[in-house]
């Protein structure tokens, strides 16, 4: 029963609400069917499918709330989960930050988060995708390791104040690492989509195979400050880290968006004025649900406008304290790009480094948003407008804020897949000056 229709969820949620004896409650009903295949050493290693539907009830008495979940849906079970949440609410300490559930909100049109093609993925499709990746690799003396995961699911929310929201979504994520059999080259490519009909596992795999062959026998160059061309996987893995623009942390003084002496950087210039980053649930390349988990209606909203901090994210409690409107948690981020292709950007570079992606990115100093991590799976030296040779991987120590102040060129946008799991980012190729590489790594 993993995918319930709007009507089916409504029926169950209304029944759950009818059992409520508390001051009020909010009920979620979510379900997902997932499938995956994993391969390594040019052979499938594991594959699996799972399916789950969960009903969650949060009941409250004044400022005391309690939650319970269940995955059985007969009347007795539904009543039991409501009673259990009510018992827990009675036992809970008062939470001064508790917010009552929302009344009905006005949501925009449905977004194209659901694809029939993705919902119909079969184990055979996954096996074929793996074969399309493994066979061309084996033919080129390369070893493939990859993972394909797909899901179809729904989310729904109903509150005792009259709110009802529903959305369906599908996703398919494909990543592949290709290593040359002499152990000196490695390439990576990935795709993250709602609609699987846009996925060509063979094409994605070819990019990774080509990079693994191109990156063989990398030479060491001195660490230091370099002009870099960041492929979207690399650039967005750093930019995503500055998009958690939490208003409360900024107000409390524990954020890169806090200002010396007090106050926040809202309305102040943070990065180069060519930088525009916004969220939009109806964006065709990175569609998101028109409502956030707490039921707030999502809308198109600027995060950075002409380099200036345009909005901070206020949760409902903090918004109530500050007397401002609450901001729904964004589903995606889109950064404006330019017309330059990757080839144009390389042609236009006298001396620089092309980065495929970053890896093991961890915070060093939350105050300046300084992060460290390494390049991986295809790092190349550019000289006089051409890729000269592969280079050994670097460790970087850099802040996305400093990086976006050192912007040279914005290129074409693509739906980016980051190494560390962030999704729904539509980001450009970027050329950055003075990017800080602090040491060399022998890793391939």
């Amino acid at each position: 029963m993993a995918i319930l229709s709007k009507e089916e969820t409504k029926k169950i949620l209304e029944k759950v609400l009818s059992f409520s004896k508390a001051d009020g409650c909010s009920v979620t009903l979510n379900g997902q069917d997932r499938g995956n295949i994993r391969y390594a050493r040019n052979s499938v290693s594991t594959s699996g499918e799972d399916s789950n539907v969960t009903l969650g009830v949060q009941s409250y008495y004044g400022k005391k709330s309690g939650s319970a979940t269940i995955n059985e849906f007969d009347d007795a079970s539904l009543e039991k989960v409501v009673r259990r949440s009510e018992e827990l609410a009675q036992l809970a300490p008062e939470n001064p930050e508790f917010m009552e559930p929302l009344p009905q909100q006005s949501y925009g049109p449905d977004s194209k988060t659901f694809s029939e093609a993705t919902a119909k993925i079969t184990p055979d499709y996954r096996a074929q995708a793996a074969a399309d990746s493994i066979n061309p690799a084996a033919a080129k003396d390369v070893t493939a390791a990859g993972y394909l995961q797909d899901s179809r699911g729904f989310g729904s929310l109903m509150t005792s104040k009259g709110l009802y929201a529903y959305n369906q979504a599908t996703s398919v994520d494909f990543t592949v690492t290709m290593r040359s059999n002499d152990g000196t080259g490695s390439g990576w490519a990935a795709a993250d989509l709602n609609d699987v009909s846009k996925l060509n596992a063979a094409e994605v795999s070819k990019i990774a195979i080509d990079k693994s062959l191109m990156s063989r026998n990398a030479k060491a160059i001195e660490p230091g400050k370099y002009t870099v061309i960041l492929e979207p996987a690399a650039g967005s893995d750093l930019i995503r880290l500055m998009l958690n623009m939490n208003a409360r942390q900024a107000d409390e003084g524990r954020s890169f968006l806090a200002k010396k002496g007090g106050g926040t950087k809202l309305g102040e210039k943070l990065v180069d004025e060519r930088v525009n980053i916004y969220t939009d649930p109806w964006h065709s390349e990175v569609p998101g649900s028109p409502w956030a988990g707490d039921g707030l209606a999502r809308k198109k909203m600027d995060l950075i406008k002409n380099g200036v901090v345009a909005n901070l994210l206020y949760d409902r409690y903090w918004a109530s304290q500050k007397g401002v409107e609450a901001t729904p948690f964004p589903s995606n981020a889109i950064m404006d790009g330019g017309n330059a292709s990757l080839e144009d950007m390389i042609k236009d570079t006298k001396k620089g480094v092309l980065v495929t992606r970053f890896w093991y990115i961890r915070p060093v100093d939350p105050q300046t948003l300084l992060y460290t991590g390494l390049t991986r799976d295809g790092t190349f030296y550019i000289e006089n407008g051409k890729i000269k040779h592969p280079i050994k991987n670097f460790r970087f120590n850099e802040s996305p804020v400093i990086m976006l102040n050192n912007l040279e060129t914005l290129g074409k946008q693509v739906r980016a897949v980051t190494s560390e799991g962030a999704t729904s980012l539509y980001m450009p190729y970027m050329k950055i000056r003075d990017f800080t590489f602090s040491s060399l790594s022998d890793a391939v």
């Binding site: 390594a40 995955n71 930050e97 010396k260 105050q367 802040s399």
Partner: protein, 547 residues
């Protein structure tokens, strides 16, 4: 990766997520339910036998059944507020089989005779389907049949029996001590885990285990509006394989460390530590920014565990060495040829690493692993030379060994078990040396306490680590605190620069509650022991920047 998620859920990271990372199959329950045993071992054996017989009758040459109940309790607070109290339960069965020389796995939350029969059938069907793509038939190392046995974490107090109110009161007490001392903010949490696992295999083992883990922690933050700085000092607690007795904070478990700090061994005083944290975070704000360059580092066990975890624990995992993790966690610089040579000096002669799933109080300790192998300890690095890896039943044949190392683990009944890191610990030094004596011989150095920022490449060569407290050492004396410190090194060079290790009196455990590996990713808990250790001539960078 899971570590980061967890820090976020505790409101300690930028994300400040309020919901714990519930497994898709977990349910939120009443704490009283967690003390109800649900099912006895006789019932579990009967159910397991149904699955084992079904698998065999369908042509499986091997099958194992794990009936698992996984309980978690989170208590999350900040300052004077309880932010969240969550109790979760997940109960189900995972069945793994070998058919046509290929693994198949299926799981279900229907723990009934019919549920087990159907799940076993599905596992065999999947194994047979996957065998079309199999290029390397599974070879299992032999393991004895243990019959009906049981194992229990030797806890003194079951944390799930301690009323939630007592935990809330303890955290509130710690919070108020830090706030009274002038902290700007404190986030604190208590995290309890109980894994009730029943394992049965076609080889005749029926193993019932009751595993407990406990982790109290906090972050104290100080804001200095004038200078625009904010700094945090996190708890000096360790996540442990113990019960609630870890919170007893006994006097005999307190250690006066260099620089006037108090460290903890087998029990922890969260209230005292929160109070100290508030004092120390002010000192961090006022500390001198480090001059980059080469320093001799004296690394306290509460810090060194993470460097061991990343630069020794992960690269000695055989599945990484073989390439099974190439697309996610990465591979390893400790390739088979280095091991085969018998000469690869991973560290200096005083460096000895042991893998184990036995140490009392450690996160890795169990009686038997998740494929029914009795746990043991074994050498990974002996006198500086790489001598072995971490391997499980279907891997040891690759390194010419006949016996599994007993380090197979699954985070839940609905995930397939695979090779996971055991405790990997640096053995204490043979000469009698205290940390104070070690520091007294350092001319230009830094004493680092507690783990901080961490990052390492996919083959585990190049790493960078931060910390929480950094004390400058000049001519054998501690001169005061430093800030903006991180050190970078190559794993092999770093361990070869290991110059001195304190003796067993200073040996302590620390560890990771949520270490991630695999796709879909699974979490594992692991401890790392060491005594305070000195490394000569390590490159230190300054991480201070201005925006």
């Amino acid at each position: 990766m899971k570590r980061r998620n967890f820090i976020q859920l505790a409101g300690m990271g930028a994300g400040a997520m309020m919901l714990p990372p519930l497994s898709a199959f977990s349910n939120v329950v009443d704490p009283a339910r967690m003390l109800d045993p649900l099912m006895d071992t006789a019932q579990k054996k009967q159910l397991a036998d149904i699955a084992l017989n079904t698998a065999k009758s369908m042509g499986a040459t091997y099958a194992d059944v794990r009936i698992g109940r996984y309980l978690n309790q989170f208590v999350i607070t900040r300052e004077k507020k309880v932010q969240n109290i969550v109790n979760t339960e997940s109960f189900g069965v995972g069945i793994r089989v070998i058919a046509n020389g290929t693994w198949g796995f299926a799981a279900s939350n229907s723990v009934t005779p019919d549920g087990l029969k159907k799940t076993a059938e599905r596992a065999v069907v999947i194994a047979k389907a996957n065998s079309k793509f199999q290029k390397e038939p599974v070879k299992l190392a032999a393991t004895p049949s243990y019959g009906e046995v049981s194992w229990k974490t030797p806890i003194k107090k079951n944390g799930f029996e301690v009323p939630v109110k007592e935990k809330v009161d303890l955290l509130m007490n710690a919070n108020s001590r830090a706030m009274d001392k002038g902290a700007s903010f404190i986030n604190s949490l208590m995290f309890l885990v109980n894994e009730q696992k029943y394992f049965a295999s076609t080889e005749g083992s029926y193993i019932d285990q009751d595993v407990h883990r406990t982790w109290p922690s906090f972050n104290v933050t100080m804001i200095d509006r004038q200078s625009g700085q904010f700094k945090t000092r996190n708890a000096f607690s360790a996540p442990v394989g113990m019960g609630y007795e870890y919170l007893d904070g006994k006097a005999e478990d307190k250690i006066e460390g260099p620089g006037g700090i108090i460290l903890y061994n087998k029990s922890y005083d969260i209230v005292e530590d929160a109070s100290m944290a508030a004092d120390q975070v002010k000192q961090i704000i006022a500390a001198k920014s480090v001059e980059p360059g080469k320093y001799d580092l004296v690394l306290e066990p509460s810090h060194l565990w993470l460097t061991i975890h990343e630069s020794v624990g992960h690269p000695t995992e055989l599945d990484r060495v073989l390439g099974y993790e190439a697309n996610y966690a990465g591979t390893s610089y400790l390739t088979l040829d280095k091991w085969k040579s018998g000469k690869f000096n991973m560290g200096s002669k005083i460096v000895n690493f042991v893998g184990d799933k036995m140490q009392v109080g450690s996160l890795g300790a169990v009686g038997y692993d998740d494929e029914g192998v009795k746990c043991k300890s074994w050498d990974l690095v002996k006198d500086g030379i790489l001598v072995n890896y971490q391997a499980i039943r279907d891997q040891v044949n690759i390194i010419g060994q006949k016996e599994s190392h007993g380090c197979c683990y699954s985070q839940s009944w609905n995930d397939v078990q695979f090779q996971r890191m055991p405790n990997v610990s640096l053995q204490p030094g043979k000469e009698q040396v205290t940390p104070q004596q070690m520091i007294s011989n350092v001319e230009k150095g830094i004493y680092i306490v507690k783990d901080g920022s961490f990052s390492i490449d996919q083959q585990r060569y190049n790493f960078q680590f931060g910390g929480v407290l950094f004390f400058e050492i000049k001519n054998g004396k501690i001169e005061g605190m430093l800030k903006d410190v991180a050190y970078q090194a190559n794993s092999q060079e770093f361990w070869n620069s290991c110059a001195q290790i304190c003796d067993e009196r200073d040996y302590r455990l620390n560890g990771a509650f949520n270490d991630g590996k695999g796709q879909p990713s699974q979490s594992n808990a692991v401890s790392h022991g060491s005594a305070t250790t000195r490394f000569n001539g390590i490159n230190v960078i300054n991480t201070g920047r201005t925006l």
